[in-house]
């Protein structure tokens, strides 16, 4: 299968937006206001924190007409250049929304320094693997049903794919499960053939999963961001 046809390609996965579980957007924005617009989205890796932060930024931009500014730290780039950060904050005003992805990468001192610099911003929402940096706005979690929903969004069905098995194998890390599904489709040639390359136990598991029918990637041609 060509990479561009793989239903689990990065551009298609990124096009699937966050699915609120047990709350709605009005409630979330209300809670953000109660927390004085300083809050954290918390959860382990692969739970959709970044996707939720992006969606929240879009909502705030669309509904409140504010400017959204992004900061991001990762394991590969775990700290900001000090001079760059000072320049960045020099341009922050009380109309700005600051969205900071990966705040858990910061040490305690750097975090307190960051908070001081971010005082001027109207809103500060961070993502973090652990609670405690800011009051928790929402805790992101996943479930086998959520992964099945994502797979249905991407493929049209979950039949013959070991969705639940991969969910448990990766301890709920949906990103890793989707990467495995990518490999499975890439090696199998098509989604329909994916089962044939699995060991017998897995194939039996797949056949027992619910879902019927088979179709090509739903809206694949129009999903790509490019």
């Amino acid at each position: 299968m060509r990479a561009r046809d793989n239903p689990f390609s990065t551009d298609r996965v990124l096009a699937v937006r966050y699915r609120p579980q047990g709350w709605d957007w009005d409630a979330l924005l209300g809670r953000l206001s109660e927390l004085d617009y300083r809050a954290a989205i918390v959860g382990p890796e692969g739970r959709g924190k970044t996707t939720l932060l992006e969606d929240l930024g879009e909502r705030l931009r669309a509904e409140q007409g504010v400017d959204v500014k992004w900061l991001r730290l990762t394991r590969e780039q775990p700290r900001f250049d000090r001079r760059w950060l000072r320049t960045f904050f020099a341009g922050v005003t009380d109309r700005d929304v600051l969205l900071f992805d990966g705040a858990e990468q910061m040490g305690r001192l750097a975090w307190w320094s960051f908070l001081r610099m971010a005082r001027r911003a109207r809103v500060l929402v961070i993502t973090s693997h652990r609670p405690g940096l800011l009051p928790t706005l929402v805790r992101c979690d996943t479930s086998p049903e959520l992964l099945e929903w994502i797979v249905r969004e991407l493929v049209g069905c979950t039949v013959r794919l070991p969705v639940r098995e991969l969910f448990y194998h990766h301890n709920g890390n949906v990103r890793e499960a989707l990467r495995d599904l990518y490999d499975l489709c890439a090696e199998s040639g098509s989604v329909g053939d994916a089962t044939s390359s699995l060991p017998p136990k897995t194939a039996a598991f797949c056949l027992a999963t619910r879902g019927v029918g088979a179709s090509g990637p739903a809206g694949a041609a129009t999903r790509g961001r490019g």
């Binding site: 060509r2 990479a3 561009r4 390609s9 990065t10 990518y182 490999d183 890439a186 790509g224 490019g226």
Partner: protein
């Protein structure tokens, strides 16, 4: 987003090209709000597993006169990279027209490769394309 329409037409309706060829076409626009600028961009992007890459390799500016009109563009296509697909990554070329300000745009995908067809690397290179000869 508004009801503006932008369309790209490539001369001869071609979408497959060889490296170094001249690509010509036109962009037509019917805008609801005036545009300051209309750019036609030649770029490539990747799809597949992992990080996506995008690189704009050439830009042409089209004079936008009025809310409705048409303008031509031409690109000398680069020698590389070729349009290709493997299991982990695909690389595709495209022409994009973007009217500023706003998010008004159109895109046409093209192929740049020696035969004017995407190079396919996704098939198993070790798989025999013809039956194995009898070695006895």
């Amino acid at each position: 987003m508004d009801g503006s329409v932008i369309t790209i037409e490539l001369d001869g309706g071609r979408t497959g090209f060889r490296p170094g060829e001249l690509l010509t076409g036109s962009v037509a626009w019917r805008l609801e709000r005036p545009a300051k600028d209309l750019e036609v961009r030649l770029f490539w992007f990747t799809q597949g597993k992992g990080t996506q890459d995008v690189r704009v390799t050439a830009i042409r500016r089209v004079d936008v006169i009025g809310l409705q009109g048409r303008g031509g563009f031409r690109f000398k296509l680069p020698d590389s990279p070729y349009s290709f697909s493997a299991k982990l990554i695909s690389l595709a070329w495209a022409i994009e027209a973007v009217a500023q300000p706003g998010e008004r745009s159109a895109r046409v995908e093209i192929v740049i490769a020696p035969e004017g067809k995407e190079v396919r690397l996704d098939a198993d290179p070790l798989a025999p394309s013809v039956p194995w000869p009898n070695r006895r």
